[in-house]
């Protein structure tokens, strides 16, 4: 069985497929999936889906139907365009195929994969030498963040960052790391591992939609 969700926003033209999303009934009935009418204690803002929207933690935003108006239980697989045709990923362990491949089996996009970023230094930055505090975020869709590591030598060697407060497996996990930066050119990188044992890779995955990109982010930094 599937549970299908419809929002009030319709297509501009009648020729465009109307937006519907569906979840497996076991997912939809989970404690984590909620119909939200408040955000931060206030009525849901219009652009966030007033008056009520679906929240599907750990799954991509395409399922977070705004202006939720109708919930339908289906006794079959949902065959509407936005599940059957759009938002499809390769049915492979990492949602990846060789670039240019066609004809592979696909499934609807589902859980977020593990990912991390440095948030206080941009690619190409020049910073002063000395004790640097690197900061950032990591997140995972299903199990939460177990570990965050940083590298300053182009992903050759890694050391653990300090994980900050754990607000739960679906939350951003803030991290920080200290770096005694000496003058020179560096490739600063961050990678996260999830509690279910997945670590970000250096090589990007590939699929036609560009979905689920989560390769290790590397930032070129000049220390002066």
């Amino acid at each position: 069985m599937r549970v299908q969700f419809r929002g009030l926003d319709g297509p501009v033209l009648p020729e465009t497929p109307a937006f519907r999303k569906a979840l497996d009934v076991d997912v939809a009935r989970g404690d984590d999936v909620i119909v939200a009418y408040l955000m931060n204690g206030q009525p849901m803002p219009f652009l966030n889906g007033f008056p009520v929207r679906l929240i599907v933690p750990g799954r991509y935003a395409t399922y977070w139907v705004k202006m939720l108006a109708e919930i339908t239980v289906l006794d079959h697989v949902d065959d509407n365009f936005w599940i059957k045709t759009a938002y499809q990923i390769p049915d492979t362990p990492t949602a990846s195929v060789v670039p240019g491949t066609t004809g592979f089996a696909t499934i609807p996009i589902n859980k977020l994969n593990v990912r991390s970023f440095v948030t206080n230094i941009v690619d190409g930055a020049t910073i002063g030498a000395g004790l640097i505090s690197l900061r950032g975020i990591a997140f995972d869709g299903a199990s939460g963040v177990r570990r965050v590591e940083i590298s300053i030598d182009g992903r050759r060697t890694w050391r653990n960052a300090t994980l900050e407060q754990d607000y739960g497996k679906y939350s951003f996990r803030r991290w920080n790391a200290r770096w005694s930066a000496r003058p020179g050119a560096y490739d600063v990188a961050v990678r996260a591992s999830s509690n279910d044992g997945v670590t970000q890779n250096a090589t990007p995955i590939w699929n036609p939609g560009g979905y689920m990109r989560n390769n290790i982010e590397t930032y070129k930094v000049t220390v002066s």
């Binding site: 501009v12 408040l38 009525p43 219009f46 007033f50």
Partner: protein
Amino acid sequence: MGVATAANLAPPHGRVTIVLPSDAGTSFRPGPGVETAQRYCITYHSSAYVSIQPGLTTVQWTAQVKKMKSVYGSPIPDDQVSTLVTYLATEYGL
């Protein structure tokens, strides 16, 4: 989630104005054919949806425009497809 009180459950009423985020992007880059993009593409998505993604080749842009016609029902006339593809491949090319 905290417990809601009656006060903060009161829905907005009267006239409500929505301010779109500044990064939504409603203007395509100037260039020959921009009027076609401005007329037909904005029906479906922001200009930022194009500008924030990697550039595409003429062949790839042709496939995208044809998809917008056949799958999403864009009313762009057949005789303006090449104008739009040339514009996109020039301003948002690989």
